[in-house]
Subunit: 235 residues, 2 copies
DNA sequence: CCCATAATGTTCTAGTTGGTACATTTTTCT
DNA sequence: AGAAAAATGTACCAACTAGAACATTATGGG
């Protein structure tokens, strides 16, 4: 792989990429990053030791400091990499279907699947929240990554409301939060929920049912007219 | 406080409770437990040091080992205490209203508020999930605490469906999961969401709107008939 | 009032962990 | 080929941490 001598996606600025891989900084960086994500996700920031990362790496501990300088900087690199992943993936969601309900369905399906298939991303985000989002707050890159999606959702919601597909509407951020919450929780709290209610939330059947459930709640939110005889205002 | 010489709620088995509080095991235990919950919630299991707990306690580190033997046992005590708290509180939710939609509303409101007001409980649960629910799985007490609520929810859902209040129904566990997910996420991911979308999710206005949003989704789920022209089956 | 015991304080240690100093090999450029 | 620079390996340390050893005080029954 990468034996064409072409530039790699990594941050290396060398003119010519070496063909032999005895010393391979890009590979080393990527290796460290992948192992670090796995470890930080599983054991949290404090629970992860640089030694444990190094042990699972093809290179030595020295390399972690060589490329990432310190534990917090390594963590930050992992986190930004993770957020970049979901934001890029979101671009491919189809939100311009003729029937906006189909767009919302696409959104739910993407969100559910993305989280379900990437538990270590979910755990990274959980870790950040336990840490009061210290690293997310400090990263301009992460904070500037979300605008596109909410704007597209807003467009979709407006279309659905104006064309009479949705009886109600809500803000794009609220919609995004609802869908994300349901998709996220399905993974983030899988361990305790599975243990307490004695179900296997990873099984295809349960997973399928849950996805359908989420879709019903989300579409129900946009569709319902329950004003008849029951006020939803809080007393 | 507790100057009547009556038995305290703690595990002490002394016949007579001391009136002076120079040595006060119940108080010491409770103090340690509260501080420990706060610390474990904020910094996770690995991130919390016994020394840091001791420093915030009125007593010394020695007492932590005196009453709780080890770090994992202290953690387990904190966790069981936290779960006991919510299960007991759940008993007071009114789920037998004439209008089952009101029951569901009560449930949503309770769940939302309980989590919102107890971020450290939420964080404990997050920590457990990051740890693959190791302690929850090992605690029979926690696992046997949930039955009452789901049974009551099921009764409420059946009544609502049979009496025509709900156009659809679902299992009690699904309903519980949906409501919990939305309420839980609102707290668990507050930090990253607030940072990324630049909103203050702790403000009363945002909080109120969010609660309403959740209620609409949940009731919408039970109410909607969207079979007209749009199938929710996955293709 | 005295003593067994419960409750608390102080000091130390063995093991870990983030990070560094120093040494060595590999690659690139001329 | 040979020197400079990049990449990697090894050995080590200072700080921290869970827990234990040892010492002391407070309490309540007789």
């Amino acid at each position: 792989m990468n034996d064409q001598g072409m530039a790699t996606q990594g941050g290396s600025k060398r003119k010519y990429v070496r063909l032999k891989a005895t010393n391979d900084p890009d590979e080393t960086r990527a290796d460290i990053l992948a192992v670090a994500q796995e470890q930080f996700a599983r054991h949290g920031y404090a629970g992860t030791t640089i030694d444990s990362i190094a042990a699972k790496t093809k290179r030595s501990k020295r390399m972690i400091y060589y490329y990432f300088s310190s534990k917090p900087k390594l963590y930050k690199a992992v986190l930004e990499n993770a957020y970049r992943g979901i934001r890029v993936a979101e671009e491919s969601i189809r939100l311009d279907e003729d029937d906006p309900r189909q767009s919302i369905k696409n959104l739910v399906e993407f969100c559910f699947d993305y989280h379900f298939e990437r538990p270590s991303f979910v755990k990274m985000v959980m870790g950040e929240n336990l840490n009061d989002a210290r690293f997310v707050s400090a990263s301009d890159e992460i904070k500037n990554l979300h605008f596109p999606l909410t704007q597209r959702i807003e467009k979709c919601l407006r279309k659905g409301y104006e064309n009479g597909y949705f009886g109600r509407t809500c803000t794009a951020v609220e919609m995004h939060m609802t869908i994300t919450a349901l998709s996220f929780f399905n993974v983030s709290n899988q361990a305790t929920f599975s243990a307490i209610f004695d179900i296997d939330m990873k099984s295809p059947a349960v997973c399928r049912a849950r996805k359908q459930e989420i879709l019903l709640a989300v579409l129900g939110r946009l569709d319902t007219k329950l004003d008849d005889g029951f006020s939803t205002e809080y007393r």
